[in-house]
Each structure stands twice: as structure tokens, then as C-alpha cells.
């Protein structure tokens, strides 16, 4: 009897493992099988002629039916979100790790955990309705790159806060005592000793935040992304983005070519996200080393 139980357990676990791996294999197989062949310069620029590509990059030529504007849009989005969220995330993380008393810590941790869990569509709704509210009462503001970037900043803020906070809290307390004995003010200990030591953790938070901002679709859907806008001329413009391109293609495609473009876009986004993850490990090691050992 017992042996049957044991066998059933192993069988069950094995089947679970196979199911999981098979699902991933089918997904990746489908994307690579169907989209691998379109991956290339044509997918991104709509052309393989180098002169045309240079014109496109220099904004002298408009791209049609290619991923370039969506790629640029996603890049600008991530950039806007990060420069907004990074100072806030670092500041809050430092406050929670180094200054906050126990009650403040418990309260704010809960608040930021809540933010981490709030559905991204709700964040998008917030960004959208604030914009519309401002539009009807004060200014001509419309959903645009800036609004999306700032909404995404709110979305990724908890990742930055939490990684900064835990990176600081995990540092050995000897670092603090030694620095205090050297006659350091608290703020200079934080800036000169603790933050540089916590860089690897902070880096991983930044990478998480980039990945999260690059792949989110729900927030930007509500705050200004459109299917075809070309390269935005300013941060108050509409824009294209990779994840929205994928979503739009999946629901609207009318022929095989468009579907292939969509699969290609999915592959590109997947590659970006995977590279971010694997590249981050190397990058953060190197950056920390540089910061601590090269003084000039």
C-alpha cells in the first residue's frame, strides 16, 4: 500500500514538472518557430538598406509597418519612468532602512507592499483620470508619454524601495560602528559607505524595475499609447510601445504578414527581458567593483 502512495507522489510530481517544461517549450517553440525567420533588420526598420536605416535612425524618414517606433517608445517610457522613480525609490528606501522607527517602518512597508500588489490597470486608471481631471480644470494636458512614464514610475516604485531597503538592512552592523568611530555624520556614512556597499542589491532592483516598466501593457493602454504614432516629437505626444504592439496585433491582425510581425515583436520583447535579467548579474558585479576600488 505504502509503495503505491510513494509511486503516486513521484508520478504526480514528475507529471507537474513535465507539464511546466512542456508549456514553456511550446511557448518558446511557437515564438521561435513562427517568428524566428522574420527576426532581423527588416522587422525593426521595415527595410534592409543601410542608407534607409540611417535615415530612419536620424529621424529623416518615417517607418511604416516596423517595430522601430515601438522600440523607441518603450525605451523612452522606461527612461522616463526610471528617472522619476529612482530618486524617490532610493530616498524612501534609505529612510525606511536607516531613519524610520519601528512603527513608521511597519506602516510604510505595508503601504508599499499594497502598492506592489495594486493591479497595474488601477495605476493606469489613476494616471488617466488625474490627467483628464487636470485637463478639464486647469490645462490642455492629454494622455501622453510623460503621463505613462510617471504612472509606470508609481508602478515600479515599490521594487526600488524594497530592494534599496533590504540591501541596506542586510549590511553588517560593523560597517556602521566603524564609520561612526571615524567621526562620520549619519548622512555621510549613508552616502560614502552604506549606499556604495548596497549597490548590488540596488542594481537588481533597478533591473527589476526596468523589466517591469518595459513589459507592462495595462498602464500604458490607459495613458496614451496608440497603435501607430511614429516617433514621439515630445513627452507630450502619443507614442508606440512594444507590448502594446503585441497586444494590438494579437487582437486586430488581418493577414499572415501582420501576425508574423506580432510574433517577431513578441520575440524581440522576450529577448530584451531575458537579456536584462542575465546581463544584470554581470553588470552589477562590475559596477560595484569599480565604485569601491577605483578612487581616481
Amino acid at each position: 500500500m505504502n509503495r503505491i502512495y510513494d509511486f503516486t507522489l513521484s508520478l504526480f510530481a514528475g507529471v507537474c514538472g513535465l507539464l511546466l517544461i512542456a508549456s514553456v517549450a511550446v511557448m518558446l517553440g511557437f515564438l521561435v518557430g513562427q517568428g524566428g525567420s522574420v527576426l532581423g533588420l527588416k522587422l525593426i526598420f521595415g527595410s534592409t538598406d543601410f542608407r534607409e536605416i540611417i535615415d530612419i535612425i536620424l529621424l529623416r524618414q518615417v517607418v511604416i509597418n516596423a517595430l522601430w517606433p515601438a522600440l523607441i517608445g518603450t525605451f523612452l517610457l522606461v527612461f522616463t519612468a526610471l528617472i522619476t522613480a529612482l530618486p524617490l525609490g532610493l530616498g524612501v528606501g534609505v529612510y525606511l532602512a536607516e531613519y524610520a522607527g519601528k512603527p513608521a517602518k511597519v506602516f510604510f512597508s505595508l503601504i508599499f507592499d499594497l502598492l506592489a500588489g495594486v493591479p497595474s490597470i488601477v495605476i493606469g486608471l489613476f494616471g488617466f483620470s488625474v490627467t483628464i481631471y487636470l485637463h478639464s480644470h486647469f490645462s490642455d494636458l492629454m494622455p501622453c508619454l510623460l503621463i505613462s512614464g510617471m504612472s509606470l514610475a508609481l508602478l515600479v516604485l515599490p521594487y526600488l524601495v524594497r530592494t534599496t531597503q533590504s540591501a541596506l538592512e542586510e549590511l553588517p552592523s560593523a560597517l556602521r560602528v566603524t564609520s561612526f568611530a571615524l567621526g562620520a555624520e549619519k548622512s555621510s556614512i549613508i552616502l560614502l559607505v552604506l549606499l556604495p556597499q548596497a549597490l548590488p542589491g540596488i542594481f537588481s532592483g533597478i533591473v527589476l524595475a526596468i523589466g517591469r516598466a518595459a513589459e507592462d501593457t495595462a498602464v500604458i493602454m490607459l495613458t496614451g499609447v496608440v497603435a501607430s504614432a511614429g516617433i514621439p516629437r515630445s513627452i507630450f505626444d502619443n507614442y508606440e510601445a512594444l507590448p502594446f504592439y503585441i497586444y494590438h496585433t494579437a487582437s486586430q491582425f488581418s493577414n499572415q504578414h501582420e501576425l508574423q510581425q506580432g510574433i517577431g515583436a513578441a520575440l524581440v520583447l522576450l529577448i530584451i527581458c531575458t537579456l536584462l535579467f542575465t546581463g544584470a548579474g554581470l553588470l552589477r558585479k562590475k559596477a560595484t567593483h569599480h565604485f569601491l576600488y577605483h578612487s581616481k
Binding site: 502512495y5 513521484s10 504526480f12 510530481a13 514528475g14 507537474c16 514538472g17 507539464l19 511546466l20 508549456s23 514553456v24 511557448m27 511557437f30 515564438l31 524617490l88 530616498g91 524612501v92 534609505v94 529612510y95 531613519y99 506602516f107 512597508s109 505595508l110 503601504i111 507592499d113 500588489g117 495594486v118 493591479p119 497595474s120 490597470i121 488601477v122 486608471l125 489613476f126 483620470s129 481631471y133 524594497r162 530592494t163 533590504s166 562620520a184 549619519k186 548622512s187 527589476l208 523589466g211 518595459a214 513589459e215 501593457t217 495595462a218 493602454m221 490607459l222 503585441i246 497586444y247 494579437a250 487582437s251 513578441a266 520583447l269 522576450l270 527581458c273 531575458t274 536584462l276 535579467f277
Partner: protein, 294 residues
């Protein structure tokens, strides 16, 4: 004495204000939805909006079908993902030799990096047609297809939390069971599962939160019909998808304002999950940070 300040920012007060500001912003997300939705909060609120018919052209604005659609998708995806995740965690912690276990773990971590919209895209291209053939009715966009995909999306989070909490069980406890002649099944029943009770709850709650908050999968493969969910193969609409779909409506219409009710329900649902999570997981799980690109 040297009388110059080494401090670069004035420290405590500035950071406190910054943190309080960010905290207020988070509360403002709820506050703003309540503020904009306030014309709906009348004595008739429950009759009007908690009814089961959504037909704006007949002035029927019941969002109950979407609440039920959300609950159905969340519960069903958890029912599928929980055993799947437990099986994989047992495989990684107990059954597989080191190398394959590491391989499987890598795959799971890789999965956390796959963007949601890609799950949706592959779902619409492969799973939906497959289910359409198989059920021989409807479009294939259904409660079941969304729940299956969502299960795949939330499993990695659960597996990582489970593995983390299984690993935290002290080896001597496992050795004790082994020394008494216990096998894998005994280790699981007598040490891992009881010892990792909190971790298992944490994993479940985190996964529930992600399933609740997902928009893209439901929007892309659940069909978005406005009726109450009646079977596994019924087309359903979630609260999140409803927000995305009604966006196009006139900003001042009652139809549009219902999305604030949906938003408030989602926000409060998240709040309840977050508070419950606190009970089981005081210090925050590492795997929670690793869930990465959700």
C-alpha cells in the same frame, strides 16, 4: 572645534517628507477613485450596480458578472496552479538530483521574466483554437482558457516561494525522519509541509494577488462577455478587463464611472490580500522580490 557640517542632505526630515509624500500618493490612488466615482454612491447604489445585468443602453449597470468573473478566474487558476507548483517544488527540493533540480529551477526563474502580454499572445494563437476544437462550441475564449494561462503565469511565483520555504527547513529535521526510516513521502508529510505552512500560504496569497491584478490575459483570452459566468467554457469578463474595455466611453457617463467601482473593489481586494499576507509572512519573502517581471 571644526565647525563644518559633513552632511550633504539635511537627512531625516527631508526623507521623512519624501516617504510620507509617496505614501500619500498611494492612498490618493484610492481617494481619487472614490472622489471621481462619488456621483454613483447613492442610496440606490446596491440595486443599481450590484445587479447581474450589464446593458448600458437600457441603463442597467450591474457589475456583479465581472466580480464573479474575476473570482471564478482567480479561484480556478489557483486550483490549477497550486498542485502544479507543489509538484514542481517537491521535484526541485526532494526528488530530482542536484543538476536537473537546478535546471528546473532556472526554467522557473526564466518564466518569471516572460512578459504577460506574451502569455496572452501565445494563448490566443495556440490555446484558444485548441480549446475551440476540443469543446466544439463557442469561440474558445473562455473562463477555462484564461484560467489555464493564468495558472502558468502565477505558478513560477508560487514555486519560488515554496522552494524557498522548503529550503529553510533545517536539514537535521529531514535527517531525523530519514534516520527513522522515512522516505520522500514521509519527509514531505512530517517535516516539509508542516514546517513550510506559512510559506505555502504566502505563495498562495501572492499568486492570488497576481491573478486578481492581471489584465492582459483575461482581456485577450477570456472573451469579455458581459453575462454571469455559467460554465468553464463560458466567455467571461473580469473587473480589470472591464476597466480596459469601458475606457472608450464618455468620461462623464455613468457607464464610464462604473470603472471606478471596479477599481475600488480591486484596490480593496489587494489591501485585504496584503494584510493577510502580513499575518503569514512578517519579514517579506525574498521570492516575492524575485517574482520580477510579472
Amino acid at each position: 572645534m571644526i565647525n563644518r557640517s559633513g552632511s550633504i542632505f539635511s537627512g531625516h526630515t527631508f526623507l521623512l517628507l519624501l516617504t510620507a509624500g509617496c505614501g500619500l500618493l498611494i492612498l490618493a490612488v484610492l481617494g481619487f477613485m472614490v472622489f471621481l466615482g462619488r456621483p454613483l454612491f447613492t442610496a440606490d447604489f446596491f440595486n443599481l450596480f450590484m445587479s447581474s445585468v450589464w446593458a448600458p443602453d437600457q441603463h442597467l449597470f450591474g457589475i456583479l458578472p465581472f466580480v464573479c468573473g474575476t473570482l471564478a478566474i482567480v479561484i480556478l487558476s489557483l486550483l490549477i496552479a497550486f498542485p502544479l507548483s507543489l509538484g514542481n517544488a517537491v521535484l526541485i527540493n526532494l526528488l530530482l538530483p542536484q543538476l536537473p533540480a537546478k535546471f528546473l529551477y532556472r526554467i522557473v526563474k526564466l518564466m518569471t521574466g516572460i512578459p504577460t502580454v506574451i502569455y496572452g499572445f501565445v494563448g490566443i494563437s495556440l490555446l484558444v483554437p485548441f480549446l475551440r476544437e476540443w469543446s466544439a462550441s463557442g469561440s474558445g475564449m473562455s473562463l477555462l482558457s484564461a484560467a489555464l494561462l493564468l495558472a502558468l503565469l502565477i505558478s513560477p511565483t508560487m514555486i519560488l516561494v515554496f522552494v524557498e520555504s522548503f529550503t529553510a527547513i533545517p536539514q537535521p529535521h529531514l535527517n531525523a525522519v530519514a534516520a527513522l526510516g522515512g522516505n520522500v513521502r514521509h519527509k514531505l508529510i512530517y517535516t516539509l509541509l508542516p514546517g513550510a505552512k506559512n510559506g505555502i500560504m504566502t505563495g498562495l496569497l501572492l499568486a492570488a494577488g497576481r491573478a486578481l491584478g492581471d489584465t492582459m490575459i483575461a482581456l485577450m483570452v477570456a472573451g469579455n462577455a458581459t453575462a454571469m459566468p455559467e460554465s468553464l467554457f463560458a466567455s467571461v469578463r473580469t473587473l480589470t478587463a472591464h476597466i480596459a474595455l469601458v475606457m472608450a466611453a464618455d468620461f462623464d457617463s455613468t457607464e464610464f464611472r462604473t470603472i471606478f467601482i471596479c477599481g475600488i473593489i480591486l484596490y480593496l481586494g489587494t489591501l485585504i490580500l496584503t494584510l493577510t499576507l502580513r499575518v503569514f509572512n512578517r519579514n517579506g519573502s525574498k521570492a516575492d522580490l524575485e517574482r520580477g517581471l510579472s
